[in-house]
């Protein structure tokens, strides 16, 4: 092979042309076609689901539907007003619990103990908790809060539902805070500590603000996911046919309607009007969640700039 230069390599021009029927090219095209097909299959459900919800749900949306109470079985007039309020309330309770605790935990992991055994243990626990099925969060809150009536004697309640959702949100918030803070350059931290700022001031005034957008992005995503959860609410928040006066203790320490539980209950009932309400509620819920998702993407886009 070392003597190749003695011969003229280009006596005949090299054949570089693309050979469509060469085995490797056929294989390559077949595989490309296959994965294109898979990608197509992966987006088809979204199009079908969104399409159906838009068609079935949006046609039923009216002011009455958004503001009235669900009808008793068999009646054909009513709406999902109390469930919309309920979803907002239960999700807000969850966020009020999970965001402070999660951000605090994330600050501990990223700012106080990056690699200590306790931090490693908490990180592991966070991952494990993130993998716990959502129904188990419901079972847990049912077993601790609902049956014990520890919340001022109330059994099923909006707060209990919010706590179950908070269990699911917590790992998301901790992880995004931890990772968001890790992205803050070490120099910034040193600069603050170097002028004599305490840890507390450094975290509160320098690093947390610097990591605000990634954390907010994660929190919004966590809220979006919680808003659509059903399983943890079925036997914690339960359901209600009535308005909950959510500004009074009576309202939040009693069972409450939510969109997701309404969808579940009404979809499996044999009454057509109730099925239609389930579609309408699906529409409202999906719009809410997709809006939150797009908002979090927008936030992430802002952060990238």
């Amino acid at each position: 092979m070392t003597q190749t230069l003695t011969q003229n390599q280009f006596e005949s021009a090299p054949d570089l042309s693309y050979k469509p029927f060469h085995a490797r090219n056929i294989r390559s095209r077949a595989l490309t076609f296959l994965v294109a097909f898979f990608a197509f299959i992966a987006v088809i459900p979204l199009i079908l689901v969104l399409g159906y919800i838009l068609v079935q749900g949006s046609s039923k949306i009216s002011l009455a539907l958004l503001t009235q109470l669900p009808p008793p079985p068999g009646l054909e007039e009513g709406g999902i007003g109390n469930a919309i309020i309920g979803t907002l309330v239960v999700t807000a309770v969850a966020a009020l619990i999970a965001v402070p605790v999660g951000v605090g935990g994330g600050v501990f992991l990223a700012e106080y103990s990056r690699s200590g055994w306790f931090a490693q243990f908490i990180r592991f626990g966070t991952n494990v908790l993130a993998g716990v099925p959502s129904i188990i969060a419901g079972v847990f809150i049912y077993g601790t809060i609902v049956t014990s009536r520890i919340l001022f004697g109330s059994a099923y309640s909006a707060v209990a539902g919010g706590m179950a959702l908070a269990v699911l949100m917590l790992p998301t918030v901790i992880k995004t805070t931890d990772e968001g803070l890790k992205l803050v350059p070490e120099d910034l931290r040193r600069a603050a500590l170097g002028v004599g700022a305490s840890r507390f001031v450094t975290v509160l005034r320098i690093t947390l603000p610097a990591a605000l957008t990634p954390i907010a992005t994660g929190v919004v995503l966590g809220i979006a996911r919680a808003a659509g959860e059903t399983a943890p609410l079925i036997f914690t928040a339960l359901f209600s046919q009535f308005w909950s006066d959510v500004l009074t203790p009576d309202g939040i320490f009693n069972s409450i309607a939510t969109l997701s539980v309404l969808i579940y209950n009404f979809a499996i009932e044999p009454y057509e009007f109730h099925n239609e309400l389930a579609w309408a509620a699906s529409f409202v819920l999906v719009v809410l969640i997709l809006a939150l998702n797009l908002f979090s993407r927008w936030l992430a886009g802002v952060a990238a700039k």
């Binding site: 092979m1 003597q3 190749t4 230069l5 280009f10 021009a13 090299p14 570089l16 042309s17």
Partner: protein, 273 residues
């Protein structure tokens, strides 16, 4: 060695050009990176591409075996002839091109496989049917890294030092027996001793291959190359960035001792900027 002297004494370089760039302009998206390059890269010699960073040396080098195809939005105008065939012709298969024009990159990039497999992989997909053990040994010897590797052929390529990894990558390229080897600053990530070893390797390799090497180290260009192309970049009116162009292409000796252009003189004598 006879072949070398034969080609060195050959008067007419163009008759044996390995690659011929004809009015090549390469753009990333809408901005041109290098413009109007004409250049005849001679066969059986080492050609060095030098110039300030950002002037498009890597861009030109990657265009020679269509590695630029992998970059989104990169496009080329003009033509690059390889044995009389335009590499950018309509029917050309870039995979076939890369099998004949191999490339060694700036950062050593062994596959996450064993040393043996690193060499055998390329040869196998190129349809090599000979004795693989022998091929591996021969390639590693040619790249002057056999002694370091022979006892750990089954270990990961990453278990080698940076300089050894780079020579493994050279061996991997040799193993597919290309006609031309492209090297993009192959020593810039290495220490001086590894650099020296790779330069020695290149002196061996040029007996068998045409080599095109990008280097920012002018001493290295002097030490290893027969021909040198000096690229520079200048701002264009209306444009936002700089556009690279070929200033001068000649025997290395002439470029460094008697350049025709003032810019070349300034650059090689360190009076640049």
């Amino acid at each position: 060695m006879t072949t070398l002297t034969a080609s060195q004494t050959s008067e007419n370089q163009n008759a044996v050009s390995a690659l011929s760039l004809q009015n090549v302009t390469i753009s990333y998206g809408n901005s041109e990176a290098v413009k109007n390059v004409y250049c005849e890269i001679p066969r059986g010699k080492v050609t060095a591409l030098i110039g300030p960073s950002g002037c498009g040396k890597s861009t030109v080098l990657r265009s020679l075996n269509r590695m630029n195809d992998l970059i989104d939005g990169c496009s080329l105008k003009g033509s690059i002839l390889f044995g009389g065939i335009d590499l950018y012709g309509a029917k050309i298969d870039p995979v076939e091109v890369r099998r004949r024009i191999g490339m060694v990159f700036q950062q050593p990039n062994p596959f996450p496989k064993s040393i043996y497999e690193n060499i055998a992989f390329g040869a196998r997909i190129n349809g090599y049917s000979g004795d693989f053990d022998e091929l591996v040994e021969r390639s590693l010897r040619q790249a002057a890294v056999w002694d370091e590797c022979k006892d750990k052929l089954n270990e990961s390529g990453y278990s080698l030092s940076g300089g050894q990894q780079q020579r493994l990558c050279i061996a991997r390229t040799i193993a597919i027996q290309p006609e031309i080897i492209l090297m993009d600053e192959p020593c810039s990530a290495l220490d001086p001793i590894s650099t020296l070893k790779i330069e020695e390797t290149m002196h061996e390799l040029k007996k068998s291959f045409t080599i095109v090497i990008v280097t920012h180290n002018m001493q290295q260009a002097v030490r290893v190359s027969d021909m040198t192309a000096f690229f520079n970049a200048e701002a264009v009116e209306g444009g936002t960035g700089k556009v690279g162009y070929l200033v001068e292409f000649n025997d290395t000796e002439k470029i460094f001792n008697a350049p025709q252009q003032q810019a070349t003189l300034d650059y090689v004598s360190g009076r640049f900027g």
